[in-house]
Symmetry: C2
């Protein structure tokens, strides 16, 4: 998928919502457990009921790996279903991979070629040659961890370094450095919603890149604040919500309730898009 196609989808649906498919068998409606593939059936119902309200789905790979072979089967069925039924949707493998070059190449092929995701989240700690293999695919994206939304983000990501012209936090060094990598036009960034002011700083470095934003809602970030500081002319934001939507109910009405939650967020987004 091209960035332009993503932007057009956002304008058409009046939404920049990404729904996280973090499927935990202990949290989904118990009646689904009788089916042959409860994880896929859960995802299918969520997708069928929310695809017109969001522009992206983000399966969290850990939740599938945790179920071993069966989990991988459910993941494969989910991404195939998305690619066949809703090819306009931007798909994200939330895998946070990153390793030496030849190993990153294996991960990149697995997620971007074989499973055919549009993008994958990638960790920056190992630097250039660990990320570039993910950037080698046309119209596919690596979404680099920059500033995450968890407590531990302040352990290293916001540590300052005097090595560059001005003393700056590690997450800024990461973003700046990543711009020098080959095919950096295929980069997007994970930026948590915890502190909206950070977006001002980040937009100075990457005014045009898409940012994937976790942490709105459950983790306390405000949609309005994030948009105020983070939105650019092409919107440039994908706001993720996982648990608040997919676990809105664990009864037989789960898909309907998930739609209600997604609709609330989409309506807020529509207001923001109309005022901008």
């Amino acid at each position: 998928m091209t960035t332009l196609q993503l932007v057009n989808q956002i304008k058409q649906k009046k939404s920049f919502l990404c729904i996280g498919l973090d499927v935990d068998l202990t949290k989904i409606p118990q009646h689904l457990l009788e089916l042959e593939d409860p994880i896929f059936e859960f995802n299918k119902a969520i997708i069928d009921n929310t695809h017109d309200l969001c522009v992206s789905y983000k399966p969290n790979i850990a939740f599938y790996e945790a179920y071993g072979l069966k989990g991988w089967q459910s993941l494969k069925k989910t991404i195939n279903y998305l690619n066949e039924k809703h090819p306009e949707i931007f798909t994200i493998a939330d895998a946070k991979r990153g390793d030496i070059g030849n190993t990153s190449t294996m991960y990149a092929k697995a997620f971007l070629e074989d499973l055919n995701f549009d993008s994958i989240t990638v960790a920056p700690y190992m630097g250039k040659d660990s990320v570039e293999p993910f950037l080698a695919f046309e119209n596919k994206f690596a979404i680099l961890l920059a500033l995450t939304s968890n407590e531990g983000a302040f352990d290293f990501q916001t540590k300052k370094s005097p090595e560059t012209s001005e003393v700056e936090e590690l997450y800024k060094t990461v973003i700046k450095t990543s711009k020098t990598w080959k095919n950096s036009q295929n980069l997007m960034y994970v930026v948590g919603a915890t502190k909206a002011e950070y977006f001002t700083e980040i937009r100075k470095i990457v005014p045009n890149s898409f940012l994937l934003v976790p942490g709105v809602g459950v983790q306390g970030g405000s949609l309005q604040e994030v948009c105020k500081y983070g939105m650019n002319e092409s919107i440039g934001l994908l706001i993720n919500s996982s648990r608040a939507i997919i676990y809105a109910s664990n009864g037989k009405d789960f898909a309907e309730m998930a739609r209600n939650e997604a609709l609330k967020i989409q309506q807020q987004m529509e207001i923001i898009l109309n005022t901008d």
Copy 2:
């Protein structure tokens, strides 16, 4: 496995060699491709021919994920084979995972409980709450990326920060900070062999921890240098070699040739252990 059991195994085998099982179907002997599970058959032959010369095996998870469901099946058969036939061997899932707390918990269960590896490699970028879930298992270990052996290691890991009492490189901050985390006794560290002098600095911070060392041989690091600066009273080193051993030959003699390569390294290690 306890650290003491690992140390005893090292002393008994006179080896601190870890063999990386990075199985690439394009590189293994072609006659294996006719078998039902070529990856497992390759691993089994390597293990059968080298288990007395090494103390650890490290499947690189990317290489299994790249083959989807079949790859996971091969991985499961490999770890089951190791746990049944050679329970004394220290097994490492080289997965380089790390995510927000609940997600890291899923990864930890997948690798340390379900697949029953002794340890898993973990990326530090997301900080404390992304790593602690891997430390919650008794006699299991998280091997934290500190200073890797690839070119990109110098992008961020060696960047200096003035935040601590003295200006120090990020990898040092990572190691120091990780010592404050819950169950930090279950931590080991990945330290590349590229510059042996780094080991002196690292041993000041973690004199007693085990270090997993890639980059000896193929990537140019010297075994003698690494041991000189990195070894402690309990040895404290696991030296990894992957391609140099497992791809020593791609003919029918591959397992025998792998044994020869492993033996060369083990003999060097025996000399080092005897002189110390």
